[in-house]
Symmetry: C2
Subunit: 341 residues, 2 copies
């Protein structure tokens, strides 16, 4: 409801009723001071660090005050905002697309890594290595227009299910993190995703699921070109990597897309190390946080030895760097929306 509508509707009420409305609006406008905005976070050190940080940078009387324009918060996606096990969800998309496109590619029956994908032989897929992955990327992510690609991703998201949880992948986004994104925005932050995932893959669901609009999503990308086909302009996706938004690529992507340093960064793996380092080394109040996947029961437990989302240097250096290690097991009262409390 717009402010104007509220005021119009209020005009017919008594003066006392109008003050009730005003008080309710005041509470809405001050979520940091209103009742708990982070109900899925357990009361503890991690939550306290977050709330204290937000209070100090938004309090105009504080020495730590940061003007709204500079309240930039960056979030990794895989393993930070949604699950990344047993494989990156975008890899599941690639494998499903290879299967869907196979009838148009009889040559794939004898050609790796496609042959292994079609045989369900994940060891064979892995053996094809980075070169195999790039071939699958080219076959599934390029050759169509940007609009066509978005439609393909949307269709897949609507129908694909996670192998363990049997849920659509977008249901495996973390409730505490979605609360945090909303809490930061309510406190004047601009929230960005900075992920190794494909930018045009994430943009299909980021606004609906996280409230993060496409223009605030930074990710890996392939080259594109502009064409006019039968009088209709299109963006064509080319089979050529443009940018890898991972590790030291993350600060590069932040500088390229945002052009100023974030004051808060949240990741979960060593792929986020440089992003946290870049964010928290700058002068002024800064907060770095890491999701630690230590909850094999509700989600997955992995860190130093995991091929997906490996977290080693982050764990070793968090204390000395003042980064908050968020324990999924202890700090989150729930993991997913659908989970019973």
């Amino acid at each position: 409801m717009s402010f104007q509508t509220i005021m119009r509707r209020s005009a017919g009420f008594s003066c006392g009723a109008l003050f009730v409305v005003a008080t309710a609006l005041t509470a809405l406008a001050n979520p940091a001071r209103a009742s708990d905005s982070l109900p899925s976070w357990s009361d503890g050190a991690s939550k306290a660090r977050i709330v204290d940080f937000v209070r100090s940078v938004t309090d105009p009387t504080s020495k730590q005050y940061v003007p709204p324009a500079e309240r930039i918060a960056v979030f990794d996606n895989d393993g930070t905002l949604w699950t990344e096990q047993p494989m990156y969800f975008q890899l599941a998309f690639i494998l499903d697309r290879v299967k869907a496109l196979a009838p148009q590619h009889p040559e794939w029956r004898t050609q790796e890594p496609f042959k292994s994908v079609l045989a369900g032989d994940m060891a064979g897929v892995a053996a094809a290595g980075e070169h195999g992955l790039l071939e699958m990327m080219a076959a599934t992510h390029a050759g169509m227009t940007a609009d066509e690609f978005r439609a393909i991703v949307a269709d897949w998201l609507a129908t694909a299910r996670h192998p363990r949880f049997k849920q659509p992948y977008t249901e495996l986004t973390y409730t505490p993190m979605k609360e945090l994104l909303a809490y930061l925005r309510a406190n004047g932050f601009k929230t960005f995703i900075v992920s190794g995932g494909g930018v045009e893959f994430m943009r299909v669901f980021s606004e609906r699921v996280y409230g993060v609009p496409p223009e605030q999503v930074i990710g890996s990308s392939i080259r594109t070109k502009y064409e006019v086909r039968d009088g209709k302009p299109v963006i064509v996706r080319l089979p050529e990597v443009e940018f890898i938004d991972d590790k030291a690529g993350k600060p590069v992507g932040i500088n390229r897309y945002i052009g100023r340093k974030p004051i808060l960064a949240f990741g979960n793996s060593d792929g986020d190390f440089e992003m946290l380092q870049y964010t928290t080394s700058a002068p002024g109040p800064r907060l770095g946080l890491i999701v630690h996947h230590d909850d094999g029961e509700r989600e997955y437990a992995y860190d130093r030895k995991s091929p997906v989302g490996r977290l080693e240097r982050g764990l070793d250096e968090a204390a000395q760097r003042g980064w908050v290690i968020v324990s999924m097991k202890d700090d989150w009262r729930r993991v997913y929306d659908a989970e019973r409390k």
Copy 2:
């Protein structure tokens, strides 16, 4: 003043006073219907097209209604938001930097295009062509950190003066366009700059001068890399072109940075043709506009034959494409802030 503050202060007033506040706030929330937000625009067809468009896309009862998240407006910079004659302002910056750096480069005394720059021989600079320009870009835009480059640009903007108007370059931004940017934002639009100019050059002044934050500036860029120097993370600028945000590069840049189609595009030269074509060919309400530099007295008069800001195809096809040709002479009551009305 925050809404909360207004409400707190109002609490001591009579009920009638509160309604006065409420009415004033309602007017603020509806600038399209409040008094003229575009005072530097002459009443005429161009202004009417703009105001009608904004009213229709913001009116929830209109078939043309567009939700705020999709109200993306893109603006070229050189010749659209500020003057681009007698040369692009960033080229003036490059020439000044070559002169400033010359004492550290004795070899430039005999090496083109530097030799011509130092001799003030613009024909010689022009003769060095694109290769010469790239050499000057590398010498003046690369080799330092992103923070250092920003400081250099800020220093230059504070001291350099335009050869004809004897003003700082940022004073040669167009008053009617700054009013339009503010008017669009007040109506829920998100305003972006999409320019052939260097992204890190424009970001130094875009927020202060246009109210456009760095993360909403799209421009040409050079490659960068992340490094940790003596424990301090830096973004290092490399002498290698990454992206040219001009002509067919503009829709590519829009898709890359914004990820959805604008509903309004404003340019001034054929370098903006594809951006306007991409924007206005999409379904739904769309508005394309072109500044026509036909005011040699207050600014400059040029179009089809100009080496800078050439406008030919745009003039030829505007009518059939429904684009608005904005006459600087007739549609703008003033050009610059400092100008007498």
